[in-house]
Symmetry: C2
Subunit: 107 residues, 2 copies
Amino acid sequence: MSDEQHMKMHHESLDNETLFVVSQTFKALGDPTRIQILHLLFHDEYSVNGIAQALDLRQSTVSHQLRFLKNLRLVKYRRDGTTLYYSHDDEHVMKMLEQTIEHARHS
Amino acid sequence: MSDEQHMKMHHESLDNETLFVVSQTFKALGDPTRIQILHLLFHDEYSVNGIAQALDLRQSTVSHQLRFLKNLRLVKYRRDGTTLYYSHDDEHVMKMLEQTIEHARHS
DNA sequence: TTAATATATGAATATATATTAATATAATCA
DNA sequence: TGATTATATTAATATATATTCATATATTAA
Protein backbone atom coordinates (compact mmCIF):
# COMPACT_ATOMS: atom_id res chain seq x y z
CA MET A 1 0.00 0.00 0.00
CA SER A 2 1.37 3.41 -0.94
CA ASP A 3 1.96 6.05 1.67
CA GLU A 4 -0.70 8.15 0.02
CA GLN A 5 -3.31 5.42 0.34
CA HIS A 6 -2.20 4.78 3.86
CA MET A 7 -2.78 8.45 4.70
CA LYS A 8 -6.23 8.40 3.18
CA MET A 9 -7.19 5.46 5.37
CA HIS A 10 -6.62 7.70 8.35
CA HIS A 11 -8.26 10.57 6.47
CA GLU A 12 -6.11 13.29 5.01
CA SER A 13 -3.69 14.45 7.65
CA LEU A 14 -3.50 18.18 8.05
CA ASP A 15 -0.67 20.04 6.41
CA ASN A 16 0.79 22.95 8.32
CA GLU A 17 -0.67 25.63 6.11
CA THR A 18 -4.20 24.27 6.38
CA LEU A 19 -3.74 23.90 10.10
CA PHE A 20 -2.63 27.51 10.35
CA VAL A 21 -5.46 28.92 8.25
CA VAL A 22 -8.11 26.94 10.10
CA SER A 23 -6.79 27.85 13.52
CA GLN A 24 -6.55 31.52 12.57
CA THR A 25 -10.11 31.52 11.32
CA PHE A 26 -11.48 30.03 14.51
CA LYS A 27 -9.21 32.19 16.62
CA ALA A 28 -10.88 35.20 15.03
CA LEU A 29 -14.21 33.93 16.34
CA GLY A 30 -12.79 33.00 19.72
CA ASP A 31 -12.83 36.45 21.25
CA PRO A 32 -15.95 38.14 22.69
CA THR A 33 -15.09 41.55 21.26
CA ARG A 34 -14.61 40.24 17.76
CA ILE A 35 -17.79 38.19 18.03
CA GLN A 36 -19.72 41.29 19.00
CA ILE A 37 -18.24 43.27 16.13
CA LEU A 38 -18.98 40.60 13.53
CA HIS A 39 -22.45 40.04 14.91
CA LEU A 40 -23.15 43.76 14.66
CA LEU A 41 -21.94 43.72 11.06
CA PHE A 42 -24.23 40.82 10.23
CA HIS A 43 -27.00 43.18 9.12
CA ASP A 44 -25.40 46.52 8.41
CA GLU A 45 -22.20 48.36 7.74
CA TYR A 46 -20.88 50.54 10.57
CA SER A 47 -18.17 53.16 10.93
CA VAL A 48 -15.37 52.52 13.42
CA ASN A 49 -16.84 55.01 15.86
CA GLY A 50 -20.30 53.60 15.20
CA ILE A 51 -19.11 50.18 16.31
CA ALA A 52 -17.37 51.66 19.33
CA GLN A 53 -20.55 53.46 20.40
CA ALA A 54 -22.88 50.55 19.72
CA LEU A 55 -20.73 48.15 21.75
CA ASP A 56 -19.32 50.59 24.30
CA LEU A 57 -15.72 50.00 23.31
CA ARG A 58 -12.77 52.34 22.80
CA GLN A 59 -12.09 53.53 19.29
CA SER A 60 -8.60 52.10 19.58
CA THR A 61 -9.85 48.70 20.60
CA VAL A 62 -12.25 48.56 17.69
CA SER A 63 -9.62 49.69 15.22
CA HIS A 64 -7.18 47.05 16.41
CA GLN A 65 -9.73 44.29 16.13
CA LEU A 66 -10.89 45.49 12.71
CA ARG A 67 -7.32 45.28 11.50
CA PHE A 68 -7.16 41.70 12.75
CA LEU A 69 -10.42 40.85 10.98
CA LYS A 70 -9.38 42.65 7.81
CA ASN A 71 -6.10 40.75 7.63
CA LEU A 72 -8.13 37.54 7.58
CA ARG A 73 -10.48 39.07 4.98
CA LEU A 74 -13.41 38.63 7.32
CA VAL A 75 -14.38 42.29 6.94
CA LYS A 76 -13.96 44.93 4.26
CA TYR A 77 -14.60 48.68 4.19
CA ARG A 78 -15.57 51.52 1.95
CA ARG A 79 -14.54 55.13 2.50
CA ASP A 80 -16.88 58.11 2.56
CA GLY A 81 -14.84 61.21 3.30
CA THR A 82 -12.96 60.61 6.50
CA THR A 83 -15.32 57.86 7.56
CA LEU A 84 -14.68 54.18 6.89
CA TYR A 85 -17.71 51.95 6.77
CA TYR A 86 -16.93 48.37 7.63
CA SER A 87 -18.97 45.34 6.61
CA HIS A 88 -18.51 41.59 6.75
CA ASP A 89 -16.77 39.85 3.88
CA ASP A 90 -16.94 36.10 4.47
CA GLU A 91 -20.29 34.38 4.15
CA HIS A 92 -19.00 31.04 5.38
CA VAL A 93 -17.63 32.50 8.57
CA MET A 94 -20.70 34.63 9.21
CA LYS A 95 -22.96 31.63 8.74
CA MET A 96 -20.92 29.61 11.22
CA LEU A 97 -21.01 32.44 13.71
CA GLU A 98 -24.76 32.99 13.53
CA GLN A 99 -25.46 29.26 13.65
CA THR A 100 -23.33 28.86 16.71
CA ILE A 101 -24.97 31.84 18.40
CA GLU A 102 -28.40 30.30 17.77
CA HIS A 103 -27.08 26.95 18.96
CA ALA A 104 -25.79 28.50 22.19
CA ARG A 105 -28.99 30.44 22.81
CA HIS A 106 -31.19 27.38 22.65
CA SER A 107 -29.20 25.32 25.08
CA MET B 1 -41.76 51.32 20.30
CA SER B 2 -40.79 49.08 23.20
CA ASP B 3 -37.19 48.50 24.08
CA GLU B 4 -37.65 44.89 23.15
CA GLN B 5 -38.88 45.73 19.68
CA HIS B 6 -36.11 48.26 19.35
CA MET B 7 -33.57 45.57 20.14
CA LYS B 8 -35.02 43.21 17.58
CA MET B 9 -34.65 45.89 14.91
CA HIS B 10 -30.91 45.74 15.50
CA HIS B 11 -31.14 41.97 15.78
CA GLU B 12 -30.93 40.31 19.16
CA SER B 13 -27.99 41.70 21.01
CA LEU B 14 -25.76 39.13 22.63
CA ASP B 15 -26.15 38.45 26.32
CA ASN B 16 -22.98 37.75 28.26
CA GLU B 17 -23.62 34.07 28.72
CA THR B 18 -24.19 33.45 25.02
CA LEU B 19 -21.13 35.50 24.23
CA PHE B 20 -19.09 33.41 26.63
CA VAL B 21 -20.30 30.06 25.35
CA VAL B 22 -19.79 31.02 21.72
CA SER B 23 -16.31 32.41 22.29
CA GLN B 24 -15.30 29.35 24.30
CA THR B 25 -16.52 27.05 21.56
CA PHE B 26 -14.55 28.82 18.87
CA LYS B 27 -11.56 29.18 21.14
CA ALA B 28 -11.48 25.40 21.40
CA LEU B 29 -11.11 25.25 17.63
CA GLY B 30 -8.59 28.08 17.54
CA ASP B 31 -5.55 26.06 18.52
CA PRO B 32 -3.58 23.82 16.13
CA THR B 33 -3.08 21.05 18.68
CA ARG B 34 -6.77 20.82 19.52
CA ILE B 35 -7.67 20.94 15.84
CA GLN B 36 -5.35 18.00 15.19
CA ILE B 37 -6.81 16.04 18.08
CA LEU B 38 -10.41 16.63 17.04
CA HIS B 39 -9.61 15.91 13.41
CA LEU B 40 -8.02 12.62 14.43
CA LEU B 41 -11.11 11.76 16.46
CA PHE B 42 -13.35 12.49 13.49
CA HIS B 43 -13.26 8.84 12.39
CA ASP B 44 -12.16 6.81 15.36
CA GLU B 45 -11.69 6.71 19.07
CA TYR B 46 -8.12 6.89 20.35
CA SER B 47 -6.41 6.40 23.68
CA VAL B 48 -4.45 9.29 25.15
CA ASN B 49 -1.16 7.67 24.24
CA GLY B 50 -2.56 6.76 20.84
CA ILE B 51 -3.25 10.40 20.16
CA ALA B 52 0.17 11.39 21.43
CA GLN B 53 1.87 8.90 19.13
CA ALA B 54 -0.25 9.67 16.10
CA LEU B 55 0.40 13.39 16.41
CA ASP B 56 3.89 13.30 17.92
CA LEU B 57 2.86 15.13 21.09
CA ARG B 58 3.69 14.59 24.73
CA GLN B 59 1.26 12.56 26.79
CA SER B 60 0.92 15.49 29.15
CA THR B 61 0.10 17.91 26.38
CA VAL B 62 -2.60 15.63 25.03
CA SER B 63 -4.07 15.05 28.46
CA HIS B 64 -4.25 18.76 29.20
CA GLN B 65 -5.95 19.49 25.90
CA LEU B 66 -8.36 16.60 26.31
CA ARG B 67 -9.41 18.03 29.65
CA PHE B 68 -10.06 21.34 27.95
CA LEU B 69 -12.16 19.65 25.27
CA LYS B 70 -13.96 17.47 27.79
CA ASN B 71 -14.94 20.50 29.89
CA LEU B 72 -16.66 21.89 26.82
CA ARG B 73 -18.23 18.49 26.11
CA LEU B 74 -16.54 18.34 22.75
CA VAL B 75 -15.10 14.91 23.56
CA LYS B 76 -16.11 12.00 25.75
CA TYR B 77 -14.35 8.80 26.76
CA ARG B 78 -14.92 5.20 27.72
CA ARG B 79 -12.63 3.20 29.95
CA ASP B 80 -11.17 -0.21 29.14
CA GLY B 81 -8.91 -1.27 31.95
CA THR B 82 -6.38 1.47 32.48
CA THR B 83 -6.88 2.83 29.02
CA LEU B 84 -9.27 5.67 28.23
CA TYR B 85 -10.60 5.82 24.71
CA TYR B 86 -11.60 9.29 23.66
CA SER B 87 -14.05 10.16 20.93
CA HIS B 88 -15.77 13.30 19.73
CA ASP B 89 -19.06 14.31 21.31
CA ASP B 90 -20.42 17.32 19.44
CA GLU B 91 -21.67 16.82 15.92
CA HIS B 92 -22.23 20.52 15.30
CA VAL B 93 -18.68 21.43 16.22
CA MET B 94 -17.19 18.53 14.27
CA LYS B 95 -19.17 19.48 11.20
CA MET B 96 -17.97 23.08 11.45
CA LEU B 97 -14.39 21.91 11.85
CA GLU B 98 -14.41 19.56 8.88
CA GLN B 99 -16.20 22.10 6.69
CA THR B 100 -13.66 24.75 7.53
CA ILE B 101 -10.78 22.36 6.86
CA GLU B 102 -12.23 21.57 3.44
CA HIS B 103 -12.82 25.26 2.85
CA ALA B 104 -9.19 26.06 3.72
CA ARG B 105 -7.80 23.25 1.57
CA HIS B 106 -9.56 24.41 -1.58
CA SER B 107 -8.41 28.00 -1.39
C1' DT C 1 0.82 -6.41 48.13
C1' DT C 2 4.00 -5.03 44.62
C1' DA C 3 5.11 -3.87 39.94
C1' DA C 4 3.75 -2.17 35.64
C1' DT C 5 1.09 0.70 32.82
C1' DA C 6 -2.04 4.55 31.51
C1' DT C 7 -3.60 8.85 32.55
C1' DA C 8 -4.11 13.17 35.27
C1' DT C 9 -2.39 16.97 37.80
C1' DG C 10 0.53 20.89 39.55
C1' DA C 11 3.93 24.21 39.02
C1' DA C 12 7.00 26.73 36.14
C1' DT C 13 7.94 29.01 31.97
C1' DA C 14 7.54 31.06 27.63
C1' DT C 15 4.63 33.04 24.40
C1' DA C 16 0.50 35.15 22.65
C1' DT C 17 -3.22 38.22 23.15
C1' DA C 18 -6.39 42.10 24.36
C1' DT C 19 -6.75 46.56 25.97
C1' DT C 20 -5.36 51.13 26.82
C1' DA C 21 -3.39 55.92 26.47
C1' DA C 22 -1.03 58.76 23.67
C1' DT C 23 -0.02 60.16 19.32
C1' DA C 24 0.29 60.01 14.25
C1' DT C 25 -1.95 60.07 9.83
C1' DA C 26 -5.34 61.30 6.54
C1' DA C 27 -9.34 63.62 4.65
C1' DT C 28 -12.47 67.47 4.62
C1' DC C 29 -13.95 72.12 5.03
C1' DA C 30 -13.85 76.98 6.35
C1' DT D 1 -3.44 77.01 5.16
C1' DG D 2 -5.25 75.74 9.62
C1' DA D 3 -8.79 73.51 12.26
C1' DT D 4 -11.62 69.56 12.73
C1' DT D 5 -12.87 64.94 12.51
C1' DA D 6 -12.19 59.94 11.79
C1' DT D 7 -9.17 56.33 11.93
C1' DA D 8 -4.65 53.99 12.52
C1' DT D 9 -0.51 53.08 14.93
C1' DT D 10 2.84 52.53 18.69
C1' DA D 11 4.35 51.18 23.05
C1' DA D 12 3.22 49.61 27.52
C1' DT D 13 0.82 46.53 30.44
C1' DA D 14 -1.93 42.96 32.12
C1' DT D 15 -3.83 38.67 31.29
C1' DA D 16 -4.44 34.26 29.08
C1' DT D 17 -2.61 30.27 27.00
C1' DA D 18 0.21 26.22 25.57
C1' DT D 19 3.80 23.30 26.71
C1' DT D 20 6.86 20.86 29.61
C1' DC D 21 8.81 18.23 33.53
C1' DA D 22 8.04 15.97 37.52
C1' DT D 23 5.00 13.56 40.10
C1' DA D 24 0.51 11.80 41.67
C1' DT D 25 -3.36 8.73 40.95
C1' DA D 26 -5.68 4.72 39.44
C1' DT D 27 -6.24 0.21 37.38
C1' DT D 28 -4.69 -4.29 36.42
C1' DA D 29 -1.96 -8.38 36.79
C1' DA D 30 1.50 -11.22 38.90
